[in-house]
Symmetry: D2
Subunit: 304 residues, 4 copies
């Protein structure tokens, strides 16, 4: 074999677990007001964004993460017109949402303007022009504050936040109080979707606690997941609403709905993928249901 | 956080990709006639077996791998009586097969007697008594040779071989010639199941080529997969026969069949898990179908 | 190049500095009452002893460390008869001391009997029979307690203790109070020698503080050093007495004294090596002299 | 402790030996016509230059390397006027040479103009204005070619080349033929100095072979060494001439000579340091003298 790489990005998920990515090229790094930001290229997954030492998305497989996060909720919501995104600095969330032709207003609220501007510069494939779309409004402020103050009613809300690490900017966005607040700003048939932590069975506490907490505010919710290669793990998501169940959508219905909306270029998501994502292994269901924790403002969740 | 571990097992899957497991305890290691063998405990996944530097299975999650490999084929095969296992040195494959009450004869052929004996000693939870079961016969010889010479007809064949690494013992077990030979020793409705390489989209060449090669010998075959935490990747499997399609089994039918056989203690596999395993993401299907390679004796597949 | 090793011992000297040794063979590990103990073989330096994650000595280069620690003091002391060793569990310190024919009584005090017994079993080349030498007495107790209680007068005292890490067994052996106590048990012309921490200029605080502290009790003292390959760093030592200065010994005198004592098989130390060890680079002298810290019982030194 | 770094520069010196430096900041990287070039900051040693994966020098300790390489030869040469530097792209070699007031002409020949220009931009502390000094001429060409063609006679020649790695630009600069050629362009009392590989006893083959090869062309030569913290190893140097022996210079003479030349700000090198550098441990002398290899154009040395 050829010699091993000599620059490595090592992502720790536990004091005794780490993944090593050989770095092929350095792009840019800085410290914003909120977090450590790094753009670099790893040999195997291409250019990527790293916040506080955790990979957020990578060129070669960001489509997996973003298609998975967005399309189930957008289909479930019928014909959503107003979509609110909390976080999502790279812009790929906007790109996927805008593939749905009914969208009229799309607001993205991110606390870290610098990150968004750097993503626009260094990760142009992610937003693919979405930042310039006339339907899009970018707001730079605390997302919880925005939700508190918004007088609008949202058909779909997407939460694409960093994990709630200690001192990180997002640890108060996963609490019982916040989800109740958010629910009050959504349309009666509104749909919430969010990234919801690792699906590794031995790291499932975060996902399970978020699930339990959302359950207090929404009538129907489902965990789902897909494997993100550059994360080296299956990743968990949650879609929630008051009545619509993603399990009720057949693969054929999904494929038909995508076609009807003219969405034909998806690479990872379709009817069959949807069926797989929402079919949870038995152990995952058991572990999630065993966890009883509720996240609250005065008892927030802090992950490794 | 506490200090990082200071003994690490680093598994490379590519010159620029590796996973680090902190080692908590050393058990035993040696070099057999065929391979480097190591038993050790990693903090996060417990005791594990490592062959030629690649983790084979770990205490905490081996049930995921073994249930996934065995039960779809055993259900699909109706009421299999005679089962042949090629490889499978840890013995957990036998343990899972023996949960099916109709099995009358179960032969395991492994080239490396030393590995099997060490697994019996150091990994007792894996075989859980299966090595002593009167229905089981252990044969230590080259599996291809055994298949060539067997005069019996097999209802289910399980291939649980190490990956075809250079100089490794199994690289001639994935060829067109071998699958044709094997097919001739199976019952008309016989079912073949095998582990079939990484399901990482960027490492899918191995799985795809094995899939193409098996397709030449069997009328119906399906790729399926599940996430193996200690491998840090979704892993691919293939089940093949001449007529039976795992997609035709509904979750309810699977749950009923397991119940009817008195198999109630599975942790990972059930009807819902089955549905998920066989629903492939769109990109995986596309990548697999793009690969045209056929593996042959004089053009074997060698993985990293 | 060949593939990189897949088992590694990684020794951190700082959160951002570490050395990786490929492990070739595992020998034994356990937790004693006092510390984590590990015997393993690294490809490059052979079998080694690791305490609390820090390499203590390795087969291929332990002679460098032990010859350097012992012979300057033993020559300086004239014809020492009674030698006290504090620590030194591997036994190589005894082996080197016993090369000096005048020694009549040699007491080694180590708090951890288990480590000494394991070293006798797994590192036989280190003590080379010294544990059975009739002049040697092994005492297993707290070294400070032993020094407090001894009624004997010692010509040479050797401190070969682990570094004063948090919760480690030796952090109260480097204080002002201890060195004063020790001085009172030594002959008027007695010589103290000890390992005294890294000589990396950016990790010199430990050495410097020990130096300052010893200076309060002894009239003459010298820092010296040599490069220990398996430590990847030059290591510091200190020799102290009330009158004898190692700088006053010429290379020729040292070679002659070794010859006179019949010590001819040393591999690292001789007159020329002595001259090099005691000639300190300008920056090291400056950094050491800038440090003003004194170590005291109620303000002990804790290294990384 | 705080969390470990997550970007690492890992320098392999052997397939089973490596050093890890936590990266604090990325500066610039590219591939020139000749080599991979990287400027980055490591937490522990500051900004550094890395060529083909090997650290060349680091901000915090480059003074150690460069003072050691230059001053012994410059003092030994009496009052050198004409100095030729082969390699030395960072410019710190020039900076040290120019501290000697008698220098009238100083030519630096480096094959890689891009590296020199990048060093001027990213490592300004290294050359400290030397690139603009009127006595300095920069020549960008193959150093061997320059030596062949020069009609001048040089008082001091400095070789500060990368190690002779496979396909690297410098592997034909350490051969018998080259040293003979070089000798013919030097003043009768001219002095050659060069960096000459690792002084780790188990990696001494390179130094020893270079030593043997130079011995064929020069009447007097000495190995010397110092510990370079960012290299994690003592590094070897060689100084050669036809008559002048660095061992003949006493510490007092060196200190006086430096003072006389007005060189007072050195941080690492002085009389005492000189004495230490040239006093070789016994094992190093034995290992070097055991190596019989001569490097020739048709049998060049290639290091790991």
């Amino acid at each position: 074999m050829k010699a091993p790489a000599w620059k490595w990005f090592i992502e720790y998920t536990h004091p005794t677990q780490a993944h090593m990515h050989g770095i092929s090229k350095y792009i840019f790094s800085c410290r914003t007001k909120y977090q450590d930001v790094e753009f670099l290229e790893v040999e195997f997954y291409g250019r990527c964004l790293i916040l506080d030492g955790k990979i957020q998305s990578a060129l070669y497989d960001e489509y997996i993460y973003h298609e998975t996060l967005i399309h189930p909720a957008m289909l479930l919501a019928g014909a959503p017109k107003k979509v609110l995104v909390l976080g999502g600095g790279e812009g790929a969330v906007l790109r996927e949402i805008l593939k749905h032709p009914g969208v009229e207003r799309l607001v993205m609220v991110d606390i870290d303007r610098e990150v968004v501007e750097m993503c626009a510069e260094y990760l142009p494939e992610w937003n693919a022009g979405a930042f310039q779309d006339p339907r899009v409004e970018l707001v730079f402020c605390d997302a919880r504050e925005y939700v508190k103050n918004t007088g609008e009613t949202w058909d779909v809300v997407v939460m694409d936040l960093t994990e709630p690490v200690d001192d990180g900017p997002s640890y108060l966005m996963f609490t019982r109080e916040f989800f109740r607040l958010l629910k009050g700003k959504m349309a009666p048939k509104g749909v919430l979707t969010l990234q919801a932590g690792s699906f590794n069975p031995w790291l499932l506490e975060c996902h399970s606690a978020v699930y339990n907490t959302i359950k207090l505010a929404f009538g129907t919710l489902r965990s789902y997941y897909t494997f993100i290669p550059s994360f080296d793990v299956t990743w968990g998501f949650i879609v929630a609403s008051d009545e619509k169940d993603p399990l009720a959508l057949s693969p054929a219905e999904i494929d038909a709905a995508l076609k009807e909306r003219g969405i034909e270029g998806l690479r990872h998501y379709d009817g069959e993928a949807h069926r797989g994502m929402f079919a949870l292994p038995k152990d995952i269901r058991a572990l999630r249901d065993k966890e009883k924790r509720i996240i609250e403002d005065n008892n927030p969740l802090i992950t490794f």
